[in-house]
């Protein structure tokens, strides 16, 4: 359904990192190459939870409105 263009991925990752929501580390991969690994920070997790909750509430509200208008129609 949703496809993030790969080109937009990195600026987004960097923005999140700069805001302290992601932490990044350079580690060796199983093939032995250095790669940048991202993980959620505590702040990032909290943010994710609020955003998720907010989204769910919105989705629920929208669903409700749609249902209501269906019922009213």
């Amino acid at each position: 359904m949703v496809q993030v263009p790969q080109g937009s991925l990195y600026p987004a990752l960097h923005r999140l990192e700069n805001r302290g929501l992601l932490a990044a580390d350079w580690k060796a991969t199983e093939t032995g190459r250095e790669a940048k690994f991202y993980k959620l920070t505590r702040k990032g997790r909290a943010q994710l939870e609020t955003e998720t909750a907010g989204w769910l509430r919105l989705a629920e509200a929208v669903g409700l409105i749609l249902k209501l208008s269906e019922g009213g129609a």
Binding site: P5, G7, P11
Partner: protein, 897 residues
């Protein structure tokens, strides 16, 4: 990673980004290969999926949020290089701005020193000052009696605390005995009588020891304790760390030092440096009548307070007036018809400042603002001229994709950089000139503590002004430059197509504005200088040469008025006059043209009835000893001087000036022998002499009626001693003679406010001198800036018209025609500016008329002379470039483009 690290580790971050993206590509490629694509196809698809790598990188860099700072750094670096490449332009522009900004910073520093610099106390802007007065007055500045203070303090509901204080002076000496020969250490110091809670209300903690205890604040004359200031501690006690508990002699009495205040704290007034504090209960020791504690009409005290949290000034004022209303009902004799007003300590300063200072400061700020504007116009002109020469550089930048905004920003950065350089130089100028203002202060017998050095507040303003000017003079040229016609520029045609011939060019408008402003400033300056010169030529009415004055007050050593005037003063004068080199010695209460003056009245001629209250004429008056007129070389027109016959027991006598005699008796001769009094049954005084008119309050005043009363019939202890030296001996020797004789009479008696010769007039001339100095500075600056502006514009205009001039000459124009062409163009602008400036000056001087005493505002010399001067300067500024243009070789000129 923090913002700063992102900004500073740019290179490392770029490397990591490169690595991260190439890892992504390779990983994706190998994934695709694993799905069965050929390596070439896999790499192509991976690249397509990611998008243009440079765009992605650029987006990632944007995500850092440091782009603007990076750009700024780059612009700054580039700006520094550009400015360094044209040192001549940079120096002229920076110096111009330095003058403009420096003048403003200096003026602001002085204003700051007077009204803006807060007291070094806790939360200075919340310190509330309380003023007492009559209901009919719009603004009141009165003081409070002690009983009223106690009632207000006890009954109000708005103040968390209210303290009382009053400045006082004291003789400080190292001994109690009047015969010790240690006079060198006797001096006058200023301090404050304070209520016990004063230090708490101020919110200052002593550096050593303590403040005052409740018992020291409750019974009169029982606790001789004092807290001393940092300077006194350092100077007189060598910063002795065990000073607490030691003794200091104030007005001849031993006081125990209980504390030392920290260095910045100088008491409750911003302009006087206080050196000691004593409890109010010791007021009698400092010359206050014993009834100070009980007499409700004896208003001595200034009140400072702190409001309770959440209480506004308005509420507190209403509250205090309610209490005052109750007090008025209880004690109508002293308190009827009173009201109380509150100001903050800081706010009160401005409102309390005299009109002359207030408007003077305002005017100075206005004029210096105009000078700054002039400087801005000048630099804007320089920038404009330069932007045109840089048109090609800008054109190329635009052509390879720089946005207009980016170009404007780059140019603005340069102009702000220039402005900051100018600001820094200006600050140096301000430091220097604040020192000069300080040095120009006349000697006054008070420890003035005004500080005119630029402080943090001034610095902040200076920065703001610099940045604003940078934008102000940089914006228009930058915007114009960014509108360059690309094609024309890159073809090498220059940028002169940017404005049409018919529209007045921005440069032209700037020049006209410059001339206008400088005419206004110059006419103001001219009026000031001309009228102040007249003031300086005013005869003060006495001879200051060979005159020495000094202040003494034996009251401080418990001499009463009778003892001082019957024995001490006559004996002192007799001894001094007996010394070689002394021509005459006398005393007066306040020197004319010094700081204070007293009036008495109403004047009621013998046989006339008292006028109704508050009508009648109150006359300025001085108390003098015999030989005062002789010492001052004031000619006696009629009658005689006071002499030994005029003692406390003989009939009352008076000497008046000519103006008094004329106004009340129609003539000098007619006044002689007549008698008048001050109404209400005061003793009649007979006029025994008439002296020549002088100036008394200020040099600007009209003729004032003035009367002299004999000191020995009107005792007083705070006096100024005058010694007129023999011309050959010199005044300085007389100082030593007087000091020695005073010490011989009483070694504890401090001598202060010693003025030698012309110093006696310094106070009177000071205002005029400062104003004239400032007016001259401003005027010259304005003239210099306007000339520079006109010259640079004309030079530029000529350089732009080289080709046209060449053609004209090739077609047969003579040298004269070319000069006329160029000069005509410049003079049109100059004359327009002069006309506008004259209009502005006429309007402005209408306003000045109301605030400048005794200064004519339609002085023809100024109003004709200044425009003529400007015409001459403008002609010169146009003629030099015109000559250069006329010498152009037509062949070279035609090849020019």
């Amino acid at each position: 990673m923090g913002w700063w690290r992102r900004l500073l580790r740019r290179r490392k971050l770029d490397e990591e980004l490169e690595k991260e993206l190439s890892f992504h590509l390779e990983q994706h490629t190998s994934d695709l290969i694993a799905q069965g694509r050929s390596p070439v196809e896999a790499r192509r698809r991976a690249r397509l999926a990611l998008g243009g790598p440079e765009q992605v990188k650029e987006m990632c860099r944007d995500a850092r949020g440091t782009r603007w700072a990076n750009d700024l750094l780059r612009d700054l670096r580039y700006g520094v290089r550009v400015l360094a490449k044209r040192p001549g332009f940079t120096a002229v522009a920076a110096l111009t701005l330095a003058l403009g900004i420096g003048v403003n910073t200096a003026i602001l520093s002085v204003v700051n020193g007077f009204v803006l610099r807060p007291l070094p106390v806790e939360k200075p802007d919340e310190l509330v000052a309380t003023h007492w007065g009559r209901k009919k007055d719009a603004r009141v500045w009165g003081e409070f009696s002690y009983t009223n203070y106690l009632d207000l303090r006890g009954q109000n509901k708005s103040f968390s605390d209210l303290c009382a204080w009053r400045e006082t002076s004291a003789g400080v000496s190292s001994t109690e005995s009047r015969n010790a020969g240690d006079n060198a250490r006797a001096e006058i110091i200023w301090g404050e009588l304070v209520s016990g809670n004063y230090f708490d209300v101020m919110g200052v903690k002593p550096l050593l020891g303590r403040g005052f205890l409740p018992e020291e604040d409750s019974t009169p004359n029982t606790h001789p304790v004092t807290v001393i200031g940092h300077t006194l501690w350092q100077r007189r006690f060598g910063a002795d760390p065990s000073i607490v508990g030691k003794t200091i002699y104030l007005n001849g009495q031993a006081f125990t030092i209980v504390g030392v205040m920290p260095e910045p704290f100088l008491g409750g007034e911003y302009y006087l440096r206080k050196a000691f504090w004593v409890p109010v209960m010791m007021a009698q020791k400092f010359g206050r009548r014993a009834e100070w504690r009980t007499d409700r009409g004896y208003a001595l005290w200034k009140l400072y307070g702190r409001l309770k949290p959440g209480v506004t000034m308005g509420q507190a004022e209403t509250d205090l007036n309610l209490v005052a209303g109750d007090l008025a009902t209880l004690y109508p004799g002293e308190n009827a018809d009173t009201k109380i007003q509150l100001t903050t300590e800081l706010g009160g300063r401005y409102e309390n400042a005299t009109e002359v200072i207030r408007y003077g400061g305002f005017l100075a700020l206005c004029v210096s603002g105009l000078v700054l504007l002039l400087a801005c116009f000048n630099v804007a002109n320089l920038m404009l001229a330069r932007a045109t020469t840089r048109a090609r550089e800008i054109g190329i930048r635009l052509a390879i994709g720089a946005s207009r905004g980016r170009i404007v920003r780059q140019l603005l950065t340069e102009s702000v950089l220039l402005a900051l350089t100018g600001g820094a130089l200006g600050l140096a100028f301000a430091y220097w000139s604040s020192g000069a203002v300080w040095a120009s202060f006349p000697p006054v017998p008070y420890p003035i503590s005004l500080d005119f050095a630029p402080d943090g507040y001034v610095l902040k303003w200076m920065m703001a002004v610099s940045l604003t000017t940078g934008v102000l003079f940089g914006l228009a040229p930058a915007v114009l430059a960014s509108r360059t016609d690309l094609v024309n520029v890159i073809k090498g045609g220059g940028a002169k197509t940017t404005h049409g011939r018919r529209r007045p060019s921005l440069r032209g408008v700037l020049v006209v504005a410059q001339v206008t402003i400088s005419i206004v400033v110059l006419i103001c300056a001219g009026l000031f200088i001309r009228s102040l010169r007249e003031v300086r030529q005013t005869d003060p009415g006495f001879e200051a040469e060979n005159l020495v004055t000094m202040m003494i007050n034996p009251r401080s050593l418990a001499y009463d008025e009778q003892e001082a005037t019957r024995r001490f003063f006559p004996e002192l004068l007799r001894r001094i006059e007996a010394q070689p080199g002394v021509r005459a010695a006398a005393m007066i209460d306040e020197m004319p043209l010094a700081v204070g003056h007293t009036t008495r009245g109403p004047v009621v001629k013998e046989g006339e009835l008292d006028p109704p209250p508050n009508q009648g004429f109150n006359c300025d008056v001085s108390l003098v000893t015999p030989k005062y007129f002789d010492a001052m070389l004031i000619p006696l027109v009629e009658g005689r001087d006071f002499d030994d016959r005029d003692s406390a027991d003989s009939p009352r006598v008076v000497v008046v000036n000519q103006e008094f005699a004329r106004r009340f008796y129609g003539g000098e001769r007619d006044a002689l022998g007549r008698r008048f009094n001050f109404g209400q049954g005061t003793p009649l005084m007979q006029i025994v002499g008439v002296v020549k008119d002088g100036r008394y309050r200020s040099l600007y005043e009209d003729r004032l009626p003035f009367i002299f009363l004999p000191l020995y019939q009107n005792p007083r202890t705070a006096m100024t001693l005058l010694v007129s030296a023999q011309p050959e001996g010199g005044a300085q020797a007389a100082v030593e003679v007087a000091r020695r004789e005073i010490a011989q009479m009483d070694a504890r008696l401090p001598v202060y406010g010693v003025m030698v010769g012309e110093e006696n007039l310094a106070m009177a001339y000071w205002g005029a001198n400062v104003a004239a100095g400032m007016a001259t500075t401003f005027g010259l600056l304005a003239l210099l800036l306007a000339t520079m502006g006109l010259y640079s514009v004309m030079t530029y205009a000529v350089s732009q018209r080289t080709r046209e001039i060449g053609i004209r000459m090739a077609l047969g124009a003579a040298l004269r025609d070319v000069v006329r062409l160029v000069v005509g163009q410049g003079m049109r602008m100059a004359l327009l500016g002069i006309a506008l400036g004259l209009l502005g000056a006429f309007a402005l001087t209408r306003v000045l008329a109301s605030l400048l005493l005794g200064i004519g505002t339609t002085d023809s010399v100024t109003f004709v002379g200044v425009p003529l001067l400007l015409v001459a300067v403008a002609l010169l500024a146009c003629y030099i470039p015109a000559r250069r243009a006329a010498r152009v070789n037509p062949l070279v000129a035609l090849r020019h483009d």
